[in-house]
């Protein structure tokens, strides 16, 4: 079992709760061992805080903004944010986009991920359940055109992406498999009268039995035929597990291939995305967890978080924070409420906007984000946040920079930049070292000594006037280490 020390705890928290908040670090370090720490992190609320759309009318776009702000706000402030973080993983894996799907459907899909993405098995925390539920939600029916997939004019979009992107991975299926799955998935649509309701249309369903990964499906199964494809791939249900027939995995059971593919995706999301492989130890543990527990989610995630391979130097330095994660880190540091403070236009140039994955393969890790224009956009986001931060509050002669709701979360502007008052002696600001340390403490950051030293040197530079000392805030928030997960 990995050691319970500060470095490992911070790493665990940054990957699961996005931010290693000081109070969470302290709480986990007080536990007996790493298993207890992992269980604590995974002890997410049974029901996530629901989003409120009051005052927004029927406008789907505005509701979308509200949902993504609320969700990000929960990632920042929930007692156990890991559930929200896993929902974010599923959003980038079982993909739909508000670009194409109606808002009501997207709300339901995100709600499904938030409720069951890291849920207990009894509460739907299982990959088979997740896929079967999402497949017939209106958001997915719209996004991958399955609502238009009818017997006399099949549309392969959903069936293909289900196999290739959601379950088995590229090269593990044949065109005949896609055609068979397409036939199995015909007939699923939305009710005409209420667009956000699912309705199966038997008259559009292709009834002839199909051969899929070596199994016969759709033999009189009607609306359940689609689920059979999931059962064949994951070895659930009673139709029997399929076998991959082509490519490097030819001859191997589909559930194992699926478990490896899903493991690779989760490792890239939480472990590291530098090596493009999964270390064999944690790979075996995670694949076994999926296969031994019928694709339940919690044992699988636990196997990842408790493995020594997750705590290596390569893993600890191998992920760049996605823009949404960086934004959450900014919200936490600055104590800003997400609602009304994270508009879509602010996130767009960073390359990531919740509810709008760029295409059905979701977002790509690391290198995708590390270029001048996407990083430049993050700078703009950080500057925008620090402007929001500097909400002036007045208390007599005082003004404050507020890093949260309470008096304990603020620093007086006098301390930052000194205070001139007419006919009164000038009050100088606090020394630079004390200022930087106060800011680090207020924002709950953990900063490398070299970074702290360089920022001190900046503030002491001849050309920096006292009123510019608040530059320290943006330097702390945009330092390269803030972009590492």
């Amino acid at each position: 079992m990995p050691a319970l020390n500060e470095a490992n705890v911070r790493h665990l928290l940054r990957r699961t709760e996005i931010v290693d908040r000081p109070e969470r670090v302290a709480a986990l370090l007080a536990l007996p061992n790493m298993a207890a720490a992992v269980d604590d992190v995974m002890d997410v609320a049974a029901r996530p805080v629901p989003v409120s759309y009051t005052g927004l009318g029927d406008n789907g776009w505005k509701r979308g903004v509200r949902l993504s702000e609320h969700w990000m706000g929960q990632m920042a402030s929930a007692a156990r944010p890991f559930g929200e973080r896993m929902a974010f993983f599923w959003h980038g894996h079982i993909v739909s986009s508000l670009d194409k799907s109606a808002f009501a459907g997207m709300h339901d899909q995100i709600d499904l991920f938030r409720r069951t993405g890291l849920g207990a098995p009894s509460a739907g925390g299982n990959v088979v359940r997740l896929l079967k539920t999402a497949a017939i939600q209106p958001a997915m029916l719209d996004y991958l055109d399955n609502s238009r997939n009818i017997a006399r004019s099949p549309n392969q979009n959903f069936a293909r992406e289900l196999i290739e992107l959601f379950v088995l991975g590229v090269g593990n299926y044949t065109e005949a498999d896609v055609e068979a799955a397409t036939a199995a998935w015909t007939g699923h649509a939305k009710a005409r009268s209420a667009e956000n309701t699912y309705h199966f249309r038997p008259e559009h369903h292709e009834n002839s039995p199909q051969q899929f990964l070596g199994r016969t499906i759709n033999a009189g199964m009607g609306s359940e035929a689609g689920n059979e494809t999931i059962d064949v791939m994951l070895g659930s249900g009673s139709v029997g597990a399929g076998t991959v027939a082509v490519g490097p995995n030819a001859g191997r059971p589909a559930p194992r291939v699926a478990a490896e593919f899903l493991t690779f995706k989760l490792w890239q999301e939480l472990g590291e995305a530098s090596t493009r492989t999964v270390p064999s130890g944690v790979h075996g543990a995670m694949v076994d967890a999926l296969l031994d527990h019928g694709f339940d989610i919690r044992p699988w995630v636990r196997a990842l978080l408790l493995h020594d391979d997750f705590y290596t130097g390569v893993a600890k330095t191998g992920l760049v924070r996605q823009p949404a994660e960086y934004m959450v880190a900014l919200l936490v540091a600055c104590g800003i409420d997400a609602i009304d403070n994270v508009p879509g236009w602010l996130m767009d140039p960073t390359g990531q906007r919740l509810l709008y994955p760029p295409n059905v393969s979701g977002w790509k890790p690391n290198g995708y984000w590390v270029n001048a224009s996407a990083m430049g956009a993050r700078h703009s986001v950080a500057n925008s946040m620090t402007w929001t931060l500097a909400r002036d509050t007045w208390d007599g002669d005082e003004g404050y920079l507020q890093f949260g709701p309470n008096a304990a979360n603020r620093i007086s502007k006098r301390d930052v930049q000194g205070l001139w008052r007419p006919n009164q002696p000038y009050i100088p600001p606090i020394p630079t070292a004390e200022l930087v340390d106060r800011l680090i403490d207020l924002m709950g950051l953990s900063v490398a000594p070299a970074t702290r030293g360089r920022i001190l040197a900046h503030l002491d530079h001849d050309d920096i006037e006292t009123w510019m000392r608040r530059d320290a805030i943006s330097l702390l928030l945009t330092a390269p280490e803030m972009h590492i997960a």
Binding site: N155, V170, L319, W369, V370, H379, D463, A479, P480
Partner: protein, 828 residues
């Protein structure tokens, strides 16, 4: 070579490069001059140790290490059609009944297409490409695909981008080309992806392209009110970015942050504000691509993508819009690209795969296999390549076969246009389709999209001269120097004296303190950037010239700056408008005659003009100018041998002197400028110099009075270039020789035209000389139109009467010289 122990100050003085406030005002060419002079020595030792750091504080030495882009280096523009373009609806097989059967209601009717031949039509929205086809510069490569037909987006896109059908796809074909091109050096501006994220094809094993934003970047440019503090801030960011272990993601993030500063500072003057950029994604991206090329940053490959082409459903409403956007983008690109680059640019499309021939019932098509791809540009050999896939025997869900391996498609472009080496990039040899009829070169043309017809015949109305643009204080536009390859828009009509509906304006353009030799081109807003010039500024001096420019969209003119950074002033002297009933003034051209020469006592006492001491000059009744009815005169003002730096202004006698200038002069230089001056009390004009003493010469070339010729402005056209043999033999004009230039019948000038407005440029005369422009068939007058210094490039606006034989002559007095003349208006 300079002594390496030369002091910084001495070296900079030697270079006569002003150390600008903005360290990145030094562009690539200037930098390489420094390197060539041996001053780059020591740059590899790191920051703080080389002369370069004094000139470019905080620069990354490796950012400039790549070689210059030469006149024969090709530039490639890639347009990605993401999602799988429906090739059958793009290059339509109009005679194939199976296409109409299989594509059903999605098919494009034959009668709507733009016919290329008996069997083929282009999608109706692709008018630009039809013009390329007609000019023989569009290559249609049919049946492009890859060997392993998988129809997933992502593996297929990865294969298209990586050009590796099997195996790990960690790099793409342009990225690997870039690896070879840069050979380990770093160059932020060799290849660019215009957008937020880097697609695989722009990522190499060692190098990656730079992402260029679709908005003007500003981070990296010191803000005025805290410039020194910002420089300190940027240095801190650079230091924080260089910490962290080499090769770590933290270090890579840090390097990206440093790149932000470099890219931001360089591109801030090149990319305009959002309000000047089009909204449609791909049109915007291609305009930015053209501006990046114009800025001469050394880019060889620019890539831009857009979507969504993945029309599984709803195709009839999606695909035509995509085609229209593509067409607009091509038009915008070539309208923005400076003509001098056209010969070096090729544009190509790519898309992951085609779409099925059979439509599905959702009014869409599904992922196909092969599709046609398009390559066009000045060097492309137009025609059909590859093989059109047959639709025979296709059943539902069948994909069309591929006939051209995509690697052959890429390799043909790498070898034909990017300097070769395709086998290294692609891992093998593939058939070269021979898509080009010649290699990249400095000259080349593409079809002009829309001919700019001459404006309506107009009469001249002089106004109190008024400044409408000043980049030094933000009058009329941004308060910022105009950057390399950048165009600014100057509103003329509707601002002050010039009414809406005016067709052209007589303006004076002044360039202040350019950072390097450059040229400016004034042209009507909305027209294609022409291959002509208005002004040739040089560092260290203030250069001015007059121009007659048609007013374009919104009553504005555009001014393009070729290189470096420069401040720009524009003064309006008068405007042209369609005549209304009542008094209107037309132009009467004259054979030039000299009305004033203070050196000989002609027209005024024989004595040098003193600063701030106006003289009055009798105009009316002298030198063929009639004794009455004259509203304004067109004169060439010549400041001869001034002993100070200043300007000359002319205005109607009896009125207040306006706050504008006509001629800018420097000590020792003789400078001519054409001016239109309203005649004042007693038929006279007043003239004044602002500083020092000088001799002043005034030649009259025409006047405005009732019932003269009306003017029609045209988009600038080059009528003469002795460097290339346009309009006259390709040979320099010798001492005492004249070149005869046909004007009537060229550039839209009709028979019976009485005069032409030409910007005449003298290029590098071997000796100090003067040029005289006069009508063909008449004796040469004792006047001058240009007075170029030895080895300089200088221009002047000339309004010349056209000879009865439809020609004009340009005479050169001493040495030999190249002469260029650009037509901007004619009078009939």
């Amino acid at each position: 070579m300079l002594d390496p122990d030369i002091t910084t100050a001495d070296a900079l003085r030697h270079l006569s490069a002003p150390v600008a406030d903005d360290p990145f005002s030094l562009d690539r060419r200037r930098f390489l001059q420094l390197v060539g002079l041996g001053l780059g020595a020591g740059l590899v030792a790191g920051p703080g140790s080389s002369l370069l750091d004094a000139v470019l504080p905080g620069h990354d030495p490796l950012a400039w290490a790549a070689g210059p882009i030469g006149p024969n280096d090709g530039i490639l523009v890639l347009i990605g059609l993401y999602g799988g373009n429906d090739g059958l609806n793009t290059v339509v097989p109009v005679n194939d009944g199976r296409y109409y059967d299989q594509h059903g209601s999605l098919a494009v009717p034959a009668s709507s297409t733009l016919r290329l031949d008996a069997n083929t039509g282009l999608h109706p929205e692709l008018g630009e490409l039809k013009q390329f086809w007609d000019a023989g510069k569009l290559a249609i490569v049919e049946g492009v695909g890859h060997l392993q037909n998988e129809f997933s987006h992502f593996s297929s896109m990865a294969k298209w981008m990586s050009a590796r059908p099997t195996g790990l796809t960690t790099s793409g074909w342009i990225g690997r080309w870039l690896d070879g091109y840069l050979s380990g050096t770093k160059d932020l501006f060799a290849a660019a992806e215009i957008g937020h994220s880097l697609p695989l094809h722009m990522i190499g094993e060692r190098s990656v392209a730079t992402t260029v934003p679709t908005d003007r970047p500003s981070f990296g440019v010191p803000r005025e009110w805290r410039a020194d503090a910002d420089r300190a801030l940027f240095q801190t960011i650079r230091d924080l970015g260089s910490a962290g272990p080499a090769g770590s993601w933290q270090r890579l993030v840090g390097q990206a942050q440093i790149d932000i500063l470099d890219v931001g500072a360089t591109l801030n003057p090149v990319i305009p504000d959002d309000s000047e950029l089009p909204d449609t994604e791909i049109v915007r991206k291609l305009e930015i691509a053209a501006r990046l090329i114009n800025a001469n940053l050394g880019m060889r490959v620019l890539s831009a993508g857009y979507g969504d082409f993945d029309s599984h459903a709803g195709q009839p409403s999606q695909h035509p819009v995509r085609m229209q956007e593509l067409n607009s983008a091509i038009n915008r690109f070539y309208s923005t690209l400076h003509p001098s680059w056209v010969g070096r640019v090729t544009v190509m499309t790519f898309s992951e795969f085609g779409r099925t021939s059979y439509a599905n019932d959702g009014q869409g098509t599904d992922h196909g296999s092969s599709a046609p791809q398009l390559v066009f540009g000045a060097g492309v050999k137009g025609g059909f390549y590859g093989q059109r896939p047959s639709l025979a025997g296709l059943r539902r869900w069948d994909r069309m076969p591929s006939h051209v391996d995509m690697r052959s498609y890429y390799g043909s472009v790498i070898d034909g246009w990017l300097g070769g080496g395709s086998s290294g990039v692609l891992g093998g040899n593939f058939e070269n389709l021979r898509l080009f009829e010649r290699p990249p070169s400095g000259s080349g043309t593409v079809p002009v999209a829309s001919g700019s017809a001459p404006s309506a015949p107009s009469v001249f109305v002089a106004v109190t001269p008024q400044r409408v643009y000043d980049s030094r204080n933000g009058l009329g536009g941004r308060r910022a120097r105009v950057g390399p390859g950048q165009t600014v828009q100057v509103g003329v009509s509707g601002e002050g004296a010039v009414p809406v509906g005016a067709t052209a304006a007589a303006i004076n353009v002044t360039a202040v303190l350019p950072s390097i030799d450059t040229f400016l081109t004034a042209y009507p807003t909305g027209q294609r950037l022409p291959d002509s010039s208005t002004l040739n500024p040089r560092p260290g001096i203030v250069t001015a010239n007059s121009a007659v420019v048609g007013l374009g969209t919104g009553g504005a003119i555009s001014i393009y700056n070729n290189a470096g950074h420069v401040d720009l002033l524009v003064d309006v002297m008068g405007y042209f408008v369609a005549p209304t009933n009542g008094a209107s003034t037309g132009f009467h051209p004259l054979s030039p005659s000299r009305l004033l020469d203070t050196r000989t006592g002609n027209g005024a006492p024989k004595r040098r003009l003193r600063e701030r001491t106006p003289i009055s000059l009798q105009i009316v009744g002298r030198g063929s100018v009639p004794s009455s009815g004259v509203a304004a005169v067109v004169v060439n003002l010549l400041a001869v041998d001034p002993n100070g730096e200043g300007w000359v202004v002319g205005w109607p006698t009896g009125e207040t002197m306006p706050v504008v200038s006509n001629v800018q002069y420097q000590p020792g230089r003789t400078v001519p400028t054409l001016a239109v001056v309203t005649v004042g009390a007693g038929g006279k004009i007043d003239l004044m110099a602002s500083a020092g003493t000088l001799d002043l010469v005034v030649d009259v070339v025409g006047y405005f009075a009732t019932s003269g010729s009306t003017m029609q402005s045209v988009g600038p056209r080059r009528l003469l270039d002795t460097r290339t043999g346009n309009g006259a033999p390709a040979t320099r004009v010798g001492p005492g020789d004249a070149v005869n230039v046909r004007v009537v019948g060229r550039g839209g000038v009709p028979v019976g035209a009485s005069a032409a407005a030409l910007n005449v440029t003298a290029v590098a005369p071997s000796d100090h000389t003067y040029l005289t422009v006069y009508p063909g068939g008449e004796p040469r007058p004792a006047t001058s139109s240009l007075n170029p210094d030895r080895m300089q490039v200088s221009a002047n606006l000339v309004l010349s009467k056209i000879g009865t034989d439809g020609t004009i002559n340009i005479y050169n007095n001493r040495g030999d010289v190249d002469i260029v003349a650009d037509l901007t208006a004619f009078f009939t």
